[in-house]
């Protein structure tokens, strides 16, 4: 079992997503960044776009996110954005 970490997508309208994930593909300003568990503290700004989240249960979820910030520290990741819509 691969290591997992917790991910939250927070918008001003509330928490859009909360779950335990294996991998997140974040649309950063200079391309995509994949984040696995035990990542070093990382703060990156996102230009928005498609964000792919691989959940611990094996599902893959696509989100359409607005520009924002992605932060991960001690296996707790937060994505802050103005808008977020799930695609599948």
């Amino acid at each position: 079992m691969a290591a997992t970490y917790s991910l939250k997508i927070i918008t001003p309208q509330g928490t859009a997503y909360e779950g335990t994930v294996l991998h997140t593909l974040v649309p950063t300003e200079s391309g995509f960044a994949g984040v696995l568990a035990h990542h070093a503290p990382y703060l990156v700004s996102s230009k928005g776009g498609k964000m792919v989240v691989k959940e611990s249960v094996g599902l893959e979820k696509d989100f359409q996110v607005g520009p924002g910030f992605f932060e991960v520290n001690h296996d707790e990741a937060v994505f802050l954005t103005q808008t977020c819509a799930i695609q599948n």
């Binding site: 200079s30 503290p41 700004s45 520009p67």
Partner: protein
């Protein structure tokens, strides 16, 4: 006598239907209040998270600069006036307009006015003030877009140096359910660094693209979140005010009905007594 009685009965009926209306409005205000309170609660995690990111960016000693934080001599200012679109909410709008007037004295340089809500816009227009932008009759579904527009307008004006400061007049909470009209300076805004959490961030963050770039992207978001909070607070205060005003009106109607019912009964009793006297004195006159 019977004419007076009928008129009174009509009035009682009238007050009763008014009472029904105020009661209904109270309940409507209560449900709207709940909705906005929920909205505010939902945005708290966002605000907290944004503050967290901000704190991490500010933890190093190198000061960061942003156009929205730039302090200039206040030659031109803008004033945001938050009032309600509809009336029947007690002294809510009056106190806000009163607060806004402090800025509109002749010895002050007239600020650029941005109005949200029909009440305040109309009241100040009557006094001869003109508006830079005004948002009236905002539907609940349009609030988000109004917030975005207001934020964008303010940012633009401030960045273009058309204005040097922005003040907002809105209902600020001083307690759990206590609010009052307040003026707050929202631009250039102060970044509050909540006591740096030491020890927790032993390993420094990897920041991309750079600390400065992140900061310049974050500041507008912090500002937007602040404007949003002000919106939410004034919405909550408005509905709270309306709820109180309407429950007061319902109470008053109840008292009024009680006193009128008493009067009605007195008049009716007086009429009966009078008729009895007439009958009795009539029969006495016959016996004699």
């Amino acid at each position: 006598m019977s004419g007076q009685l009928r008129a009174l009965k009509n009035r009682i009926r009238g007050v009763e239907s008014t009472q029904k209306i105020t009661k209904a409005m109270e309940m409507v205000a209560a449900s709207k209040l709940k909705r906005f309170q929920k909205l505010r609660e939902q945005s708290t995690p966002y605000v907290r998270a944004i503050e967290g990111v901000l704190n991490r960016l500010l933890q190093t000693d190198i000061p960061l600069q942003h156009p929205l934080l730039e302090k200039r001599a206040e030659k031109e200012t803008a004033l945001l006036v938050f009032t309600s679109d509809t009336g029947l909410c007690g002294s809510y709008n009056q106190s806000l307009v009163e607060e806004a007037r402090k800025f509109l004295r002749p010895d002050y340089r007239t600020p650029l006015l941005i109005g949200i809500g029909k009440s305040g816009v109309n009241a100040l227009t009557r006094e001869g003030h003109t508006w830079h932008r005004r948002f009236t009759d905002t539907k609940t579904a349009e609030i988000e877009s109004v917030i975005t527009q207001v934020t964008a307008v303010l940012e633009y004006l401030f960045m273009e140096k058309r204005i040097d400061a922005v003040y907002a007049v809105y209902s600020h909470f001083t307690g759990k359910s206590v609010y009052g009209a307040a003026t707050e300076k929202i631009l250039p805004f102060q970044l509050e660094v909540t006591a740096a959490i030491t020890g927790e961030t032993a390993s420094p963050y990897i920041m991309e693209p750079s600390r400065e770039a992140l900061f310049s992207r974050l500041v507008p978001l912090v500002f937007a979140a602040k404007v949003r909070m002000i919106f939410m607070e004034s919405m909550i205060a408005e509905h709270m005010a309306r709820m109180t005003a309407m429950s007061q009106a319902t109470e008053n109607a109840k008292d009024l009905i009680a006193s009128m019912v008493l009067l009605r009964n007195k008049i009716r009793q007086a009429a009966i007594t009078k008729e009895l006297i007439e009958i009795v004195s009539g029969s006495k006159a016959l016996k004699n």
